[in-house]
């Protein structure tokens, strides 16, 4: 195993070393208690033990709102240079579930006709994974996303006294290469510590959802009253979509400058829970009921995305349930549907 050990007090110098070469982002705790991925200013502010960031990694690749084109009558539609050029970035502290989620987003954005904005940011961003601190809402182990074996350049697992570091790519190898003095090759004792970490970590996940035959169960339950009960509480606010690491919908809108001669085309995160989402010109809505919209969201995760891309579009991060202002527990809903189907 090609692995290294990074002593705990070497993390700050390593992050500073990265910062001299690239834009570095790392988890920081806000005054509100929320943890977010923020631009690195002071390594002392970086947290290495946290449960989940408010927004997942997708905010770095498919931006919450971004300019796609500037346009003018004379020149047509052009990608503005400040958008077209991307700095090299390193994101430190991504959990296993979030790394899996990026691979799920890749299936949409890099599949078939690649999205150039996403593709370029993905290519120019190095990812350093970090072991996580699960809470009672995490159910990643049910989707096999509590651990990663690829999708990172480096992965840091917290072990006593520092981090057990695995290399995922040649780029990861280069990152270590520029700070070789800070890392030491892993020895037998480090491997033993890592083995212990794996065992202990696996025992930290308490919440589970049965995934076997889940698409079939949900299809059987299409007409269940449980959808309506959840929809009665749903505010249609789209919070669950915004915080979801695998939700990728966006809408496109054009804005004219005050000159009325130039303007910009912008895309913005969207949600299938919004009433207007399936409404076509003329007013016909293909999903007029909130229950139909809620079902669309969960079916996309557990029935339709797997049918197309051969994996569930859920990594069990628990963000949707944590973010719902109406207290809808999506895992409990799925469990109730299964119970009803097998009753």
């Amino acid at each position: 195993m090609n692995a290294y050990k990074l002593p705990e007090d070497h993390l700050s110098p390593f992050l500073l070393r990265l910062g001299s070469q690239a834009e570095v982002y790392a988890p920081e705790r806000q005054a509100s208690g929320e943890v977010i991925f923020a631009r690195l200013t002071d390594p002392a502010r970086v947290v290495t033990e946290y449960t989940r960031t408010t927004l997942p990694l997708k905010k770095f690749f498919s931006l919450p709102s971004e300019v796609m084109f500037r346009f003018s009558v004379d020149r047509g539609y052009e990608v503005p240079e400040e958008i077209a050029s991307v700095h090299r970035r390193v994101i430190f502290g991504a959990h296993a579930c979030d790394l899996h989620a990026l691979q799920i987003l890749d299936r949409t954005f890099l599949h078939d006709q690649p999205d150039p904005y996403y593709a370029q940011r993905r290519e120019s961003t190095a990812l350093i994974g970090l072991s996580c601190t699960p809470d009672e809402l995490c159910f990643c182990n049910s989707f096999g996303t509590g651990f990663v074996s690829d999708g990172y350049d480096l992965f840091f697992a917290a072990v006593p006294g520092g981090f057990f570091v695995q290399i995922g790519t040649t780029r990861g190898n280069d990152l270590i290469g520029m700070a070789k003095d800070l890392f030491a090759p892993a020895d037998e004792a480090d491997l033993l510590a890592y083995r212990r970490y794996l065992k202990e970590h696996n025992g930290k996940f308490t919440r589970e959802v049965t995934t076997s035959a889940l698409p079939g169960i949900l299809e059987l339950e299409t007409g269940s009253a449980l959808w309506g009960e959840a929809a009665d509480r749903c505010l249609g606010c789209g919070s669950c979509s915004m915080v979801c690491p695998t939700c990728y919908c966006f809408s496109v809108s054009d804005r004219l400058d005050l000159s009325l001669k130039t303007g910009e085309r912008r895309r913005t995160w969207d949600s299938c829970l919004f009433k207007e989402y399936a409404t076509v010109a003329g007013g016909h809505n293909f999903r007029p009921g909130r229950d139909a919209r809620l079902r669309q969201r969960l079916f996309h995760k557990f029935v339709d995305f797997p049918a197309r891309f051969e994996r569930y579009a859920c990594v069990g991060c628990g963000r949707c349930t944590a973010a719902c202002p109406a207290g809808i527990d999506f895992v409990a809903l799925i469990k109730d549907l299964r119970r009803e189907a097998s009753a």
Partner: protein
């Protein structure tokens, strides 16, 4: 390490190309035929498509909308689009005058499966604006008439005024190598000599061989199931009923999520679906 890279503009799947409105021709009270040509002569020459595909049309400063192509690739040069004035972008399109610039990208979607249709009988069934993607196929078939079997065109509209392409319909009616059947839901002016009723009434007294006929259908969303019921009752297998369906759409290339139904994307896997696919996608029709 601080490299700057430029987005590959040529590979940008969202890149609209400038095109000019060459002419517009009003087809009915709220519906107009627009003919566009790409500004760049190379682009204009290279652009080809299959009947039943669509393009994304951008009106500068207003937005982008997916619109079926109504012209046929057998008559290259101009890209014709039939547009009803129903929303922001289609309103703005109607205000454009010849030589105005728009953005075009595409073609997108699967289109009608021409290879499967060769040497088969065809029943083209259009309702209202549904003639838009079917006119492309119809003219393609007429330009390659010997490659296709018997051809029946059934076309219904709300009123005689709402029938699109009246001059072309007159020419079609005079041809001996196809049957043209027209119907209107109502005849407020009392000038209509033909059939009054919904498009399915045109089936009365007609015989089809469902094993060698493809039904090609584009009607308003509510009407698909009635047309499908008629065809099914006449023995058409699900995979021989082909429907051009619509959904709200943004990107046209399977990224934005809007036109997703079940495990299909209308923009990538459609807009043409077999009836078999359509009934197996919850909410598709």
């Amino acid at each position: 390490m601080l490299e700057r890279k430029l987005l590959p503009m040529m590979g940008n799947v969202y890149q609209p190309r400038l095109a000019r409105l060459v002419r517009k021709h009003q087809l009915s009270g709220d519906t107009t035929l627009f003919a566009f040509r790409f500004e760049d002569p190379d682009q204009a020459r290279r652009f080809t498509y299959r009947p039943g595909q669509f393009v994304e049309v951008s009106v500068l400063g207003v937005g982008e909308a997916p619109i079926s192509i109504s012209s046929t690739p057998t008559r290259p040069g101009l890209i014709e689009l039939v547009v009803r004035r129903v929303g922001r972008v289609t309103d703005a399109l109607h205000r454009l005058e010849p030589n105005a610039a728009v953005g075009l990208r595409g073609p997108y979607g699967n289109g009608w499966p021409i290879e499967k249709l060769r040497h088969q009988d065809l029943a083209i069934i259009a309702g209202g604006l549904g003639m838009a993607p079917l006119r492309s196929l119809l003219n393609y078939v007429l330009d390659n008439r010997a490659e296709f079997g018997r051809l029946v065109v059934m076309y219904g509209a709300r009123t005689p005024d709402d029938l699109l392409f009246k001059d072309e319909l007159a020419d079609l009616g005079a041809r001996s190598d196809l049957d043209l059947l027209l119907a209107v839901d109502q005849d407020p002016t009392g000038t209509w000599n033909g059939r009054v009723g919904v498009v399915t009434t045109l089936f009365e007294g007609r015989q089809f061989d469902p094993q060698r006929t493809y039904a090609l259908v584009c009607v308003p969303p509510v009407a698909f199931k009635y047309v499908a019921a008629e065809l099914t009752q006449r023995g058409f297998p699900g995979e021989r009923i082909l429907m051009s369906l619509e959904r709200k759409m943004q990107c046209g290339v399977g990224k934005c999520g809007y036109c997703n139904v079940g495990h299909k994307y209308t923009c990538l896997d459609g807009p043409v679906f077999s009836y078999w696919d359509a009934i197996n996608l919850p909410g598709m029709i």
